[in-house]
Symmetry: C3
Amino acid sequence: MKFNNRNVFVSSNAKLGNNVKIGDNTSIYDNVVIGDNTIICNDCIIGEPTSAYYKDISGYTNPPTIIGANSMIRSHAIIYAGSSFGNNLVTGHRITIREGASIGKNCLISTLADIQGNCKIGEFSRIYSNVHIGELTTIGNYVFIFPYSIFTNDPQPPSNMLMGAVVGDYSIITVHCSVLPGVKIGKNCLVGANSVVSKNIDDFSYAIGSPAKKLKDIREIYSKQFPEEKHYPWPYSFDRGMPWQGLSFDEWLKNQTEYND
Amino acid sequence: MKFNNRNVFVSSNAKLGNNVKIGDNTSIYDNVVIGDNTIICNDCIIGEPTSAYYKDISGYTNPPTIIGANSMIRSHAIIYAGSSFGNNLVTGHRITIREGASIGKNCLISTLADIQGNCKIGEFSRIYSNVHIGELTTIGNYVFIFPYSIFTNDPQPPSNMLMGAVVGDYSIITVHCSVLPGVKIGKNCLVGANSVVSKNIDDFSYAIGSPAKKLKDIREIYSKQFPEEKHYPWPYSFDRGMPWQGLSFDEWLKNQTEYND
Amino acid sequence: MKFNNRNVFVSSNAKLGNNVKIGDNTSIYDNVVIGDNTIICNDCIIGEPTSAYYKDISGYTNPPTIIGANSMIRSHAIIYAGSSFGNNLVTGHRITIREGASIGKNCLISTLADIQGNCKIGEFSRIYSNVHIGELTTIGNYVFIFPYSIFTNDPQPPSNMLMGAVVGDYSIITVHCSVLPGVKIGKNCLVGANSVVSKNIDDFSYAIGSPAKKLKDIREIYSKQFPEEKHYPWPYSFDRGMPWQGLSFDEWLKNQTEYND
């Protein structure tokens, strides 16, 4: 139904891997590189030119856009030139990603996510519906950002300062949170719904409120499903889609060198 | 202006009623059924295939999508196969509705609403701009959900539990609220702006805050427009677009069998 | 890359100025007027007909839509007929603007902003990502509204009352705020993150909370960048894109007659 080559535009300077599918009404602009077996659904724009294009259309060269292999980009995505994505990306609909975003392998970016560019997201992280990520934000690996949470970057608006927030590996930001500029959220943190994170949060903290304050150590929280067990750090209790799926987390960790808590 | 049959795709397996209009750049996929006099505006996708399609394109059969009669779906809607809608649906722009949503007659779904599927919405309910409804949520009849309110479904993220919230008939969730997984909001409730609803709320409660707590009975709230009258339950003071429009609510109720407060 | 006249529809009743560019897949409907040097990117709808069109397609006349000169409207915009915009408008992607919006010169309207129409925004104001502006809202000049803040208009939902909020010149509403119907926010105010503004706020107030309360006078707030200086009123410390850029604010003010604090 979806891949009829109807109203499709693919630049002659784009490089498509083997078995790539492009949906109807999609445009792929100059210098886009798409890995093998990736599906781009309909009504997408991949390699959207940056502002410089409009100032000098004939002199402009589109920066490279790298989409990994085995990815699935759902319809109405707008992805700017100059962003790169690891393999196995999955997206919802209507994502907007500006230039200079660097996103690792195996990430999920859900419907209506608005990623402002010049930011970094690690591997196996999940950005849910309608999350807004301001420029200069750095998000680690195995991070979950739930719907309607946002990251800002002007610490005293309006100003000419620009400071990104940082979220450590394995942390979880739940819904409707505002993470303020320059804040560092540690590793293995959990931020409760509707929080305003205005100060740094230490590793292993469960923080909530406006301003968000540490309520307890996440390692004290019991599972709602298995009440005699602890739920956090969550990698010991959840593995769906994670690289330790089918292994124990500790077993997988032994083979990792990056992890240094 | 809008219905020029320009770049329109309608599957030969779709069934369009009498006097249906399809806007330019719209795609109607397999096994979509559209009732009489319905207008689908431009740039829509109706019957978007589910994930199974991408795994086996040639072996896939699109589940049926039912759009009622006398409906108006504004531009850039994405509606998945396997959802059904009663008559007289009205939508804003850019709605996204995943598979398995069951939505009753005479509903409004506004601009940018993001309905994740496998959920149920009753009749005459109004889902306003940018509302996010997670899977397994159940919303009753005559319910109002105002902008940027969201319903979540993982009670301890990340986990493999999935629990939908329930909203009773005639209830109102105002703006920027987070309704947490498995919560039951009763009938005739009013939830104030920016609330986090983490516990059940009894019928006829006005609740607000984070976590939301009952402040008073809604039947104690006076009208801002007619200060000597009570405003809630609202069906006694508001009837625009409701089935009791032009009647008194009590008169209409007498003929209903579903209402059992 | 973008302007190939592919699947473009321009009504014969639209008036395009000199050097206007129209992106692929864009529709420009009847009675749209676009000023010189303006760029409309791809997949836009400009002059979207109002509800009256669907009731009587043949008898309908599209109200005029005025887009100023030197503007840049990014892709997937939906702008209704009957709205007007001053020169030098810049937008993000996927903005939705309903009929009867009156927006002054040099405004920014970012990605996913949802402006419900019959509202007024002054000059040099910046409406960031995912801001929602209800009908009848009035926003002054040099105002900043940051992501996910919303303006509502039904003071006792559901009701037949409709009251817009008002935001005075030079004021700043930060992220995730809800401004309730009929509220007046004065000039030179700063509203903190995640606030619910339910009562009027006096000029020069820094207010925060739910409900938002005045915490201090903005003129008491020091700069985070230059700690020995005051940061607000911000026009003394920030001029990027403002008409006093390169002048001192006081020098510029002397030549203004509208400012009367």
